[in-house]
């Protein structure tokens, strides 16, 4: 059974500082997704990471994937209040040609304070 773990589960960040959050998963996967969720809202896709060493950046967020270590990191540069949200990573099992479910981690709630 695929398990996805995120840590920490809650992170209080100071504005302007850099932080890294982590997502570990238990079995081989070729697809990892990062989603953002604001309270009471839907999940917004941030990144799709498909291969070992993949790195994607959008604004102050940079995500990377190490398939050998089964680890993805989300790096936050110079945190701002707008980044306060819950961030989920989700992993799909290798399944060529078929649609397959995503297994989500518990999410990391980020709170940026002045």
């Amino acid at each position: 059974e695929l398990k996805v773990e995120q840590n920490p589960l809650f992170l209080s960040m100071q504005e302007g500082k850099n932080y890294t959050i982590y997502c570990n998963y238990s079995t081989t996967s070729d697809r990892l997704y990062w989603y953002r969720q604001d309270p009471g809202k839907s999940l917004e896709s941030l990144f799709v990471l498909l291969s070992n060493g993949a790195v994607k950046q959008e604004g102050r967020l940079m995500a990377s994937l190490d398939t050998k270590a089964r680890l993805s990191t989300l790096h936050i540069t110079a945190a701002v209040h707008d980044l306060s949200a819950t961030y989920f990573c989700a992993v799909g099992l290798p399944d060529p040609g078929a649609n397959s479910k995503l297994t989500f981690g518990k999410g990391i709630t980020l709170s940026v304070r002045p």
């Binding site: 070729d30 997704y33 809202k41 999940l43 799709v48 989920f88 399944d95 040609g97 078929a98 995503l102």
Partner: protein, 117 residues
């Protein structure tokens, strides 16, 4: 930008009653999903649907649950006899393609908050 739409946004139902949650996936998407999120917990997969049939379902998706694509645009989740523990946010999602090396995410709707009394 096209989006997944879900109705209603909030449904309150008495225990034991049937409920139907509705979704309109993005029009050129071929793969459809239902997930649920109990308050404060992680998002859990319920079922995936492709080519008018269920592709995969989780242990949560028991005989009380069913899905249907009654026409070319709607995708519904029915719970036949609701239980208190069915209270959750239910998300519909759709994707263009999926599987290995799919570079497209699943796009999620805003969800339906189901409250069972």
């Amino acid at each position: 930008e096209p989006e997944v739409t879900q109705t209603p946004s909030h449904q309150v139902t008495q225990m034991g009653q049937e409920v139907i949650l509705r979704c309109v996936p993005i029009s050129n998407h071929l793969y459809f999903y239902w997930y649920r999120q109990i308050l404060g917990q992680k998002v859990e997969f319920l079922v995936s649907f492709y080519n008018n049939e269920i592709s995969e379902k989780s242990e949560i998706f028991d005989d009380q649950f069913s899905v249907e694509r009654p026409d070319g645009s709607n995708f519904t989740l029915k719970i036949r006899s609701t239980k208190l523990e069915d209270s959750a946010m239910y998300f519909c999602a759709s994707s263009v393609n999926t599987g290995s090396y799919s570079n497209q995410p699943q796009h999620f709707g805003d969800g339906t908050r189901l409250s069972i009394l």
